[in-house]
Assembly symmetry: C2
Homo-oligomer: 249 residues x 2
């Protein structure tokens, strides 16, 4: 008998690239096909949820599985398309495991774009874009999101600021010096697009901090009296922004 496929967190959700409408054929990538057939042991007729970031969420059933791949058929829309708030996270990449963790958590917390940025004290010199995207996709699937956050091409802080869209307010998590608590700064800010900017272990260097503080679209903010690891700071800032300006209100 056909059944709804479930994981620990609830119904299995898959991010797909195909267009979704009633009766549409949905092709899975190799990893998803393997997961469905060999981990969840799906049989024809079994149902999962799919979303593509554009057409909402759909119930889809396993139509065919063969050498040419696995195809689902979209049956009924289960949720209208909905975007997360327009909040970017620009972050100095940290080591592999904390970076994985950061990307997963930021996706759950509802960030719209993840922007890796190299600062002077950033030790990590290479970004694995595929790994970053895979972590974001998995977290989007499990958190019930209808979009996967956009992944910006890694760049330097200098280039990022030079090309920055000025209408997007940057809340710059600054460990040293005077700064408003993030909650207060967010409350005072307008309702436009925003970004959280967090540094590497050891923070931004003095020249970077000076440069940031001189920019009109940058507000330095504080995250309390303790020293937070880079990934903790990013997650705390996202949660607070969501509670003040985002969709947690």
């Amino acid at each position: 008998m056909a059944s709804d496929l479930k994981e620990a967190g609830g119904l299995t959700r898959l991010f797909v690239t195909s267009a979704l409408e009633s009766g549409a054929s949905v092709t899975l990538d190799q990893g998803q096909a393997h997961y469905l057939l060999h981990v969840l042991r799906a049989k024809p007729g079994d149902r999962v949820l799919v979303f593509n970031g554009r057409d909402g969420e759909w119930q889809a059933e396993l139509a065919a599985a063969g050498k040419r791949g696995v195809v689902l058929t979209a049956r009924a829309r289960t949720a209208q398309q909905e975007d997360v708030p327009d909040l970017w996270l620009a972050f100095a990449p940290v080591k592999k495991t904390p970076s994985d963790y950061l990307v997963q958590k930021a996706t759950e917390l509802g960030v719209s774009k993840l922007q890796p940025v190299f600062t002077r004290r950033t030790i990590v010199s290479r970004i694995n874009d595929e790994r970053l995207l895979a972590n974001a996709m998995e977290a989007a699937e499990q958190s019930g999101r209808l979009t996967v956050p956009e992944i910006g091409a890694a760049t330097t802080l200098e280039k990022l600021l030079a090309a920055w869209p000025r209408e997007r307010a940057i809340f710059f998590c600054d460990e040293g010096g005077e700064a408003l608590p993030l909650a207060d700064a967010a409350r005072k800010a307008g309702d436009g697009p925003a970004a959280i900017l967090t540094g590497p272990e050891g923070g931004f260097d003095p020249a970077e901090r000076e440069r940031l503080r001189a920019l009109a679209f940058v507000t330095p903010v504080s995250l309390g009296p303790r020293i937070l690891r880079a990934d903790t700071a990013a997650l705390a800032a996202l949660a607070i922004w969501q509670s003040v300006k985002g969709d947690w209100r």
Copy 2:
């Protein structure tokens, strides 16, 4: 020449059990002694910071290292004793790596007590208290805290609630059903002691939710429209509480 011992995050800080006052001898445990001598390659006269949760933070210098252990001498107080806000985290334990992460992050975010609690859907059946404490100590050392969070003995939700000190408000992170956003609930609450309560993957079961919602000292709260992993929920809740009621204001 004697020097200040440093790590990536700044001056090396060690949590010790000895009383601290000018001239006091401070004995290190085996792990700390090994770290100081063989990882940081400390020499007599080298300086670190020490704290014991009672007497503030002190600069101390390496006095002797031999078969009987490593002894430091406390020289000058560098910070007065200061406590974190009176905020507990009662959490359903999750798997090993997320639990390590949760304990570290919660310590950085400034929790005063970590209370593992077994709920009906908790899969983990055993708590490694030593591992929990080691993670909390390390995070306290690196975050600049002057205390290590207390670790409560693991217990069941039922027993925890039966013995609960009623003056301590519980903010119960409830995934289903109507609930105020945590920021609003915290703002409305009094200034007394508080606790965040988070469930396991899959959440609390219906009977537990009903029981919790019936208690006068429990306020169900929401953490936005997405499904958060257990550890993400705990960290987000701690950050929001700190920004509304804690020492991030």
